[in-house]
């Protein structure tokens, strides 16, 4: 057990450092902040709305993450396989699940860092009025869970192929499906010809309904269980892919 923790931590640390050893991390954070700012201020009209809430900020996260998280995730396995370091990793007593968790933790923390850097927005909202800080907190919490879910999808597609572009595209497509399955314009359209139970059933798989509950400040165990099971399922699927692809 201690060995497992030690391996997970060593891999997470290595991965975390590798983000900052290359310009990727800085480029990612700057783009994330710029896009988040653009959508919040220009599209959602944060100032003009005159409301002290961050809903105009969080609404865009599913779309932002759909593109940006696969960009972070695509290299996680594809790079190890391309360069052959996967052979080193899996011959020094590291198991796939340990490596998987280490990489996942590092990437998730990195996304958390990018998200944390949006704190000036909270300060602005507090300055403008009196936002419900409980809702702000559950908004950030939900956004983190959403990022983790996207990340687990990106990690899975990264293991599928050693081509980073293919991995990126697959992750975006799966992400798009998971958004659209519960996106009201799409579900409304579907409801015209599909039975309600089917539309609702598909929508239950979507990120959107679970994410929106959290954005309203409601922390429901069912939504937490949903995100936890998406991540667990995707990580196990990644493990299965690694086993079949590299024999480990």
């Amino acid at each position: 057990m201690t060995e497992t923790i030690q391996h997970v931590l060593a891999i997470a640390k290595r991965e975390w450092r590798s983000y900052f050893d290359s310009p990727v991390a800085y480029v990612f954070i700057i783009i994330f902040l710029m896009l988040a700012g653009f959508f919040t201020f220009s599209v959602s009209r944060f100032y003009e709305a005159g409301q002290a809430t961050l809903s105009g900020f969080f609404t865009w996260h599913p779309w932002l993450y759909m593109i940006l998280v696969p960009a972070v995730a695509m290299r996680l396995w594809a790079e190890e396989r391309r360069s052959g370091t996967i052979e080193l990793l899996f011959t020094v007593s590291v198991t796939p699940i340990q490596a998987l968790l280490g990489k996942f933790i590092a990437a998730w923390l990195f996304l958390a860092l990018a998200l944390a850097l949006t704190f000036p927005l909270v300060i602005t909202a507090v300055y403008l009025g009196a936002p419900d800080l409980g809702v702000v907190f559950s908004g950030y919490f939900g956004s983190m869970l959403l990022a983790g879910a996207y990340l687990s999808v990106g990690m899975f597609t990264s293991a599928l192929t050693r081509n980073q572009v293919i991995s990126f595209i697959l992750a975006v497509v799966i992400g798009l499906f998971l958004i659209l399955a519960g996106f009201p314009p799409v579900t409304d359209l579907l409801a015209r010809w599909a039975p309600v139970w089917l539309v609702d059933g598909v929508a239950a798989f979507s990120f959107m309904s679970h994410y929106e509950t959290l954005q309203r400040g409601i922390i429901d165990l069912r939504d937490l269980a949903y995100f936890a099971s998406v991540m667990a399922f995707m990580l196990l699927a990644t493990q299965a892919v690694l086993k079949s692809k590299v024999g480990r």
Binding site: Q6, I11, R17, S18, D21, S83, G84, V92, S93, R248
Partner: protein
């Protein structure tokens, strides 16, 4: 310490390794030879616990590698083909990472990393990023990584590939120095390397073991083993030597007046030298030069592996 039994690996319909068996004991430096695509890397990957075998077993110090790769790998230092490394790390950062995975922390970790840096002559580049290293330093960094936990078994897949002669010498010296306490298995297609450091050689071809012997014994299988190259002055040398009972075939390499240069092949298992010297004395020839061929590993290698390849093609 390594026991390989009827090892088979299929990639789809292609059988890359086809029933390989051997055992290696401590103190052996085993050269694993074979033409490209013979299955060397695939076999070593199975021993290292990276690939699961399709059939057969590998045990390392009594541990079945397929069922408990984690435990087996604690006894193994493995250098994969082409020395893959994390390009964005520094040499010492990379070694610290592997040391940490191997379970060392604090001063113990530092000492072990410093030790292998010194042992593999990596001081000049220890703070350099790996993607800026020359091939020789890359290979040695990957080699250094195998030594951190001082394993009993080293598996090195083409450790000197792409190195210049000086760098090759450095790696060979390191291997030779460690040999007595370990099992070292290295794959190569450089035959001089096998002669230089290996105590045993296994040749595989098309996934099967085709020879397993000491390099010296293998050399003796060469058709030129014990062939004598003779330069002498006298009458009827070529005819007279051809009549000796120990001699099989003679080739005239050069002839001018009464001097000639011959290559004399003894009959299988025979030594022609004493008979030749006796004949020279009796006939009054003047011997100017005499060389006995020790046999050539690359001849044997070519003989064995080409016959196997043609069999495969049929």
């Amino acid at each position: 310490m390594i026991k390989v039994k009827n090892l088979v690996k299929d990639f789809g319909r292609r059988r890359a390794v086809n029933g390989v068996s051997f055992e290696v004991e401590k103190g052996t430096v085993l050269g694993f030879l074979g033409p490209n695509g013979a299955g060397k890397t695939t076999t070593i990957r199975m021993i290292a616990g990276f690939l699961p075998p399709s059939a057969g077993t590998v045990t390392v110090k009594g541990i079945d590698v397929a069922t408990d790769p984690v435990a087996a790998q604690k006894n193994i230092g493995y250098m994969p083909e082409n020395a893959p490394l994390y390009e964005d790390m520094t040499v010492s950062g990379f070694l610290r990472f592997i040391a940490e995975i191997r379970g060392f922390s604090g001063t113990e970790q530092k000492n072990r990393v410093d030790q292998v840096i010194e042992r593999c002559f990596l001081q000049p580049v220890k703070n350099q990023t790996i993607d800026t290293l020359s091939k020789g330093y890359r290979q040695r960094t990957c080699f250094a990584q195998t030594l951190l936990h001082d394993p009993d078994i080293l598996l090195l897949d083409e450790p000197t590939e792409g190195l210049d002669p000086n760098q090759k010498q450095v790696v060979r010296d390191m291997i030779r120095e460690m040999a007595p306490e370990k099992v070292i298995m290295l794959s190569t297609h450089v035959l001089e390397e096998v002669e230089a450091i290996c105590t045993r050689a296994i040749i595989i071809s098309a996934g099967k073991v085709v020879a397993d012997d000491s390099p010296a014994a293998l050399r003796q299988r060469s058709s030129s083993y014990n062939a004598v190259e003779l330069a002498a002055k006298g009458q009827g040398i070529a005819e007279k030597t051809g009549e000796l009972p120990e001699v099989g075939k003679t080739e005239v390499l050069e002839a001018a007046g009464d001097t000639c240069r011959l290559r004399i092949f003894p009959k299988a298992g025979k030594n022609a030298v004493p008979a030749l010297l006796a004949a020279a004395q009796q006939q009054g020839w003047t011997i100017e030069d005499l060389k006995v061929d020790e046999g050539r590993l690359d001849d044997v290698f070519r003989q064995i592996t080409t016959t196997e390849d043609t069999k495969e093609a049929e």
